[in-house]
Symmetry: C2
Subunit: 359 residues, 2 copies
């Protein structure tokens, strides 16, 4: 810690009255100039602007909101799982980009999969009279939002849409993406494909598992119970689960890892066991550097920026008064093949080697 020479200055904030006094006009004239209402002579406009500048005047947005008829704060609230998570961060940025075009500020917070925190934050943001809320919901029950809905605060859910709650939402095609991932592994010849996922209480985990199971059922393949592992909330948990699974007697030849941290944990496990070149992996969610690993990691990518952008656009339509029926927007996913998902199962690999030998 290096103490410098200066010290912080004491407080003093100029009000509209101070500006009016310095410019020698009424407060209403200052208001007109500050809000660019027009109808003020050039001479007065200049005097007011000069005075405002001299005093470092910043209109008090809260006071303005209090008096205005529309009661807008030009602020929205964004509740993410964790602002540091790359998926959340990408979504955050997309929301900010839309908000920026409207001069709207964004209050952000991390919910950490804690229903209680979700409730606290909704209340805190509602007290600050946000114009709308974008929420990545954790609480299985969204009844705590009733007061906000009655107050007319628009809410858009992202990533997950709460069951049994009429609302706007923007989500990825989780079941469809999981089916594509699973079929891709089936296509490579795998029949023993395991599912590793985050907490089953999260709707996305549930949907992805459903997509995985549907693909296998359609292929007429029975899934042993130990091939479906969920409630892996961290990289470490996923790594441990993958190691245990691969060392078990019923070891799969391929993994469908249904979330980005789970994928990373599984990759660590394969490295640790030296199996990363012979066990296939397809992950849900893309991540940075997935292409530079060896082998590159095949994923089903969602579009967090697209989800954020659409959610913000929908929210602002509601803020602007759109009272149409609730919308549920589902964004497609995209398979990106990079190597790990194209590894064949051991038997076929041996066949391929044999066939190669006949050339």
């Amino acid at each position: 810690m290096t103490p410098l020479s200066g010290t912080p200055a004491p407080s003093a904030r100029a009000t509209i009255r101070d500006v009016a006094a310095l410019a020698g006009v009424s407060v209403k004239t200052v208001s007109r100039v500050v809000n660019r209402e027009g109808g003020v002579s050039a001479a007065l406009t200049e005097r007011v602007e000069e005075a405002a500048h001299r005093l470092g005047y910043r209109p008090d947005h809260g006071a303005r909101t209090l008096r205005r008829t529309d009661r807008r704060t030009a602020t929205i609230g964004l509740l993410l799982e964790d602002v540091e998570n790359p998926y959340s961060a990408a979504l955050h940025r997309a929301v900010e980009n839309v908000a920026r075009t409207r001069g709207v500020a964004v209050l952000t917070a991390s919910v950490d999969e804690t229903p209680e925190r979700e409730r606290e934050l909704v209340t805190a943001f509602a007290s600050r009279r946000v114009d709308g809320l974008i929420i990545m919901p954790v609480a299985p029950d969204q009844a705590h939002l009733d007061a906000e809905r009655r107050a007319g605060v628009p809410v858009v859910f992202v990533d997950r849409s709460p069951p049994a709650f009429e609302c706007d939402s923007v989500v990825a095609d989780n079941a469809g993406g999981a089916t594509v991932a699973t079929r891709h592994l089936l296509g490579a010849g795998h029949r023993r494909i395991a599912f590793l996922g985050d907490r089953l209480a999260i709707a996305t985990t549930h949907e992805r598992r459903a997509g995985y199971l549907a693909a296998l059922e359609l292929a007429g393949i029975d899934v042993p119970a130990q091939h479906v592992v969920t409630d892996l909330p961290t990289i470490e948990a996923a790594e441990a689960a993958a190691v245990a699974l691969l060392q078990s007697s019923a070891a799969p030849t391929a993994l469908f890892t249904a979330q980005n941290l789970v994928t990373i944990g599984a990759i660590r496990a394969l490295r640790r066991l030296g199996r990363h070149r012979d066990v296939a992996v397809v992950g849900f969610d893309d991540f940075v550097l997935a292409d530079l690993l060896e082998p590159g990691v095949t994923v089903v990518a969602q579009d967090p920026r697209g989800i954020g952008r659409l959610a913000a656009e929908l929210l602002f339509r509601r803020v602007d008064g759109d009272a149409g029926p609730y919308l549920r927007q589902v964004l497609p996913t995209r398979l990106i093949t990079r190597g790990s998902g194209e590894i064949p199962p051991p038997v076929l690999a041996a066949d391929a080697a044999g066939a190669g030998g006949h050339r």
Copy 2:
């Protein structure tokens, strides 16, 4: 888009007067209950709480701020380079964690290295009367903050401290970390070590280059001009610059990449050229999966969470009235060796191979 059956409800927000009327008490009594001031009988307290709950009452934080003597909004502003950047996101999360303990909300925005945007956002947040600001500054001139300082809004700079501006700041030991990185490469036997960095207008780039140059000068090594490449703002720019450098006649045997995106760009370049096992790299800033690449990437890690935490703690001390001299806190960096920084230069590598042959 799937239209659902329900539709959004119309607006209606209960005020303290509505609660008072329903409970059959005065507004002051409601205020006392809501703020837990005490001095209200148990019977009335219960009636008020019941009424508030029935109406979904949320105290208007803005109106409260307007009237209160301390004028606190319980909201701070955080200006980051880009909320999506992992470094910014980690710092963001640390700030949020500290703010949370005080019931303070965080307004966040991305400045995108645009001085004009920095000014706009400071104004927007100042109008919303944030209790304080944490800023990752871009603008070389911070004079636009004068009005805020006069108004007594505490400001803490993070990551970079603006030159010629008396202020609080929390930064990493950029020069020191760069020197450590460069010495590490010197220690592996390298004499032709290039510097790749972000925009030189950013203070951190400047400091890291200074640390790099200092280490080489101390070792008595001349640095050819083409070995110092800056103003690489993207992964793509860094990749292109690294390719050009490595294909030039004066190709270095080692790279010090002075920022996380630059490091990733350089690694892509080395992969593309098939040189990732014989050109050494040390990066500034750690990143996810750096350990799973082949070779693992040696870095000088900063502590963005530590910077965020300290910045928030310092800010809140100022908010609480600490008027001591301005502080500049410098956090240490840490060398993490993973392989890429320990690759020897070609000549020594040949020697080593020769020596191995004699065993």
